[in-house]
Assembly symmetry: C2
Homo-oligomer: 183 residues x 2
């Protein structure tokens, strides 16, 4: 079993990552106060977070960030989606952007003790006209309908297992896992 | 004459501040690479920028940040407006939010060599249905109609002198100026 320190305060993200990576890995969440130097671009944010976490902890670790690029806003808000969500909620985003295509992106930044590595996962989809199943999932799960044959469910309408089979986080985690033995 | 170092790379801001503060002050722009720890809240951003600039330069200086709180987005994007503008331009913001009330806020952070001081200026207004006079002003000047008796002009449709008489930046600068002799 490989122990991995995951610098985040978001338990949902820890649980999802643990569930996706499976028993070979033991994810240990570690909340450190990372000043998030914000940007629309998820990769840029992760690069800065990783540098900061390395400086602070000086040991192997991962950080991640996830964003939602909404096509009808030319890619806004991307990694800034958390602020938008905080202000206008899923309901507000649906009202403004329901029907728009969108791309969900997760980037994992991994420091192996020597080098930095980045793994990006994407999921194309659309913004639903209204939030669905608000009590399940987290973040913008209630308004993101992942592109998949015959699917019209948002992430939050799916079981966690089903979401974790297709999500952008899964894609990023699998790249991380696949490369792990080669790092 | 008082010399003031203003940490910014934005020449428009330097010019406006010089013009508002007048001959008593000589503003010297200094571009340092401040990592902007972003937030919707302008004051929060300025506090972080100021701490960073003090650490870096260790001398009296000012920083500022300006944001646009759009009422129909419950105060979003605030200080994040620069990212929104970058992605969907004034045209996109007008299309989404034309007619909404909005508040423009400038916060100046001043370090006198010992203590930190903050000066906030606000201007209420509305978002225009379309951008006007795109070639004048800067940032979101073409879509912000400041609240003023019988006014339906955006900032960019006004002369710089007229804008500088009523803007949120003027309000912040005047508070700064007024307190300067007492600091």
């Amino acid at each position: 079993m490989k122990n991995i320190i995951f610098c985040t305060g978001n338990k949902n993200k820890i649980n999802e990552m643990q569930s996706i990576l499976g028993d070979e890995f033991k994810i240990e969440g570690k909340k450190i106060d990372i000043p998030e130097i914000q940007d629309v671009n998820v990769r840029t944010v992760v690069e800065k977070k990783l540098d900061y976490a390395i400086e602070k902890l000086q040991q192997p670790l991962i950080v991640e960030d996830t964003g939602l690029y909404i096509k009808n806003m030319n890619g806004f808000p991307g990694a800034l989606v958390k602020f938008m969500l905080d202000k206008i909620k899923n309901n507000g985003i649906s009202k403004l952007m329901g029907g728009s295509n969108a791309t969900a992106v997760t980037v994992i930044g991994y420091y192996d003790g020597e080098k930095k590595h980045f793994f990006e996962g994407k999921k194309y989809g659309t913004i639903s006209e209204k939030p669905k199943s608000m009590k399940k999932g987290f973040g913008w799960d209630p308004i993101f309908i992942p592109k998949m044959k015959d699917n019209n469910k948002t992430f939050s309408q799916m079981s966690i297992e089903d979401k974790n089979k297709i999500s952008q986080r899964k894609a990023a985690c699998h790249k991380f896992k696949a490369s792990f033995s080669q790092i």
